[in-house]
Symmetry: C2
Subunit: 359 residues, 2 copies
């Protein structure tokens, strides 16, 4: 099905309202979620809506959290998300980061006691209109093995950095610290295909091509794949994201990060901190050099890279190019939804007595 | 040859003094350089000393720079390195970052008009004794192709993050944003061996196993290797380092970053900014949560990861483990130097009328 962008957003918002979110929070959460679909990161979009509702059903989600600053300095804050939606807590944290940056030059907010925050890029991009560089990272439940490990100790732990240009669109890098996103395994599972080398390992830590490796006790590999190709760097990057999001915030960390609400991974286990954590930041450009000079140089950077001599049949892309183009297109033509996702949404409509028309 | 750690440091310092560095700067530069050898990153150690002298010979290095702050805010500064040694400019920048962090919670310093700063980890680790998280990154001359590019537009652009623990040694990640360090190609060149898949490409952008690929118009690949294995993430990471070190500081950036002093790569070409740039940062732990609580949790993190069930015959390492162990050993038993490096050093001793005894 091809859902209309605004209609879908309204439906998602009404589901969040149905579990008790205030209207403004529900709209914000819907905006974050549907923008993931619009940007082509479907795995983090409305496909997860039923999961958020399951989190609520299991008492792990507070729909009307009292988000508060526990500690702060001129350029930092520690935020308690009060078990709220990460989709709402993270924008609040980003707002504080930008306020701090406006005065102190930069602002950095560690968040504890939150839940899954959607796509990192959305939050980082919130800094752009203020001529700031935005940072967003979050950890997630363990699916990834450090180099040489058989145990899954890290999540896919994404990091996003958004950097404004002048006439060119912004540079927006948003990537997991793994070789490949979990969603790519799911696609191969549906097609009954094997994975390429270097994506997953089996439960003994041997190289594997099993698209179901994780279900069979295996794991996703860090960016780099194996030691010979720099997996210790992907592991290092994922670890930095986990420590800033988890340890610095007083959340759970490493193997103790609670799972998102996927079937069979519902209950959080042993705890070493509070909920899930994030880390957000904003750097005001003109705390370093005049913003327009910087933005002009960014235009030069972007044009030089985009026009680089490419491998035959290809083009060099700027981070954020594909997502931006897709977003423009899908806002006009609609969001494609897979049948199982439509079924999930229909179920929510029935449960909450909502009108189910997405076109 | 096995050189004594302190004797070698003294010799290196006297070389820097011979080209006009003040004594204190010379000692600092020697400390940074020899610590790279001690930590096993020989490619960034005294093997480069003759290169720094060549930079001086070609008028690209100011041995007694007037390093100054051009602009600042409570948590940021822009520093002009006045064409000084990066080995001296970067520690100065890190000192400013830590001073800012002591008051504003975090401190971030962009540096322009500098030169090669040695190993990133050295600078990041300077934050540790103050219960701060240290960040260091630098760009470098282009050896790396973005995904789908045939042109080399990025350096190996390393990033280091140092995080203090309580009873455990600190977490110190320090890695280039490429699949492999250039030094590993040089080792294979000497042995006449091919590279594994996924390290380099040829001049048309095809996969290659040529250890001399760069000399033949090819390039190092970003971390991830190819698109299927996430090279766009390694490219994104290298780009972030380049933009923070180069564009945010007003240095050169991308393909315009001037080369280090290797034969045939001496003269800087077209300019879009001033010299080489770095980006350094410090985050005070207790600007987020009480330092000791954090450090205790870091001990838990480190112990859990280090004791993870490992692949047969291996052990899960914490970033920084191998370098720290080597440093302890080499400070006692000495620094192994390859014969060509010894010859280089002997040449410098002759030129500057220095006593050449390294044991």
């Amino acid at each position: 099905m091809q859902a209309d962008y605004l209609v879908l957003k309204k439906f998602v918002s009404s589901v969040f309202e149905s579990i008790g979110c205030p209207e403004e929070d529900a709209q914000l959460a819907a905006d974050v979620l549907v923008s993931a679909d619009a940007r082509g990161i479907d795995s983090h979009g409305v496909a997860r809506l039923a999961g958020y509702v399951r989190l609520y059903d299991h008492g792990r989600l507070n729909p009307s959290p009292k988000i508060q600053i526990l500690h702060e300095s001129p350029s930092t804050a520690l935020l308690d998300g009060d078990r709220g939606l990460g989709l709402v807590v993270a924008p609040k944290a980003m707002e504080i980061a930008c306020q701090k940056a406006a005065i102190a030059g930069t602002g950095w907010v560690a968040v504890q006691n939150s839940n899954h925050f959607g796509i990192a890029g959305y939050h980082a991009m919130k800094a752009l209109p203020q001529q700031m560089i935005g940072w967003a990272m979050t950890h997630a439940a363990p699916l990834v093995t450090p180099t040489f490990s058989r145990e899954k100790l890290l999540g896919t732990n994404p990091i996003a950095v958004a950097i404004p240009a002048l006439t060119e669109p912004a540079f927006v890098a948003d990537f997991a610290s793994t070789a490949v996103a979990y969603g790519k395994l799911e696609i191969l599972q549906r097609k009954g295909m094997d994975t390429p080398d270097g994506w997953v390992q089996d439960r003994l830590g041997n190289p594997s091509n099993d698209a179901f490796a994780i279900k069979n006790g295996g794991a996703l590999l860090p960016l780099g794949g194996d030691r010979e190709h720099g997996s210790h760097k992907g592991y290092g990057l994922g670890a930095i994201v986990d420590i800033l999001s988890g340890v610095l915030s007083g959340s759970n960390f490493g193997p103790w990060v609670p799972p998102f609400a996927t079937a069979g991974f519902m209950q959080a286990g042993e705890k070493v901190g509070k909920g899930t954590g994030h880390f957000l930041g904003a750097m005001r450009i003109d705390a370093f050099r005049p913003a327009e000079e910087f933005q002009k140089d960014m235009d030069i950077w972007i044009k030089r890279f985009r026009s680089a001599e490419a491998v035959e049949g290809k083009q060099v892309l700027i981070p954020g190019d594909p997502e931006r183009e897709l977003e423009t297109e899908r806002k006009l033509t609609g969001i494609p939804l897979l049948e199982p996702v439509v079924e999930d949404l229909r179920g929510l409509a029935t449960r909450f007595h909502l009108d189910f028309k997405l076109q």
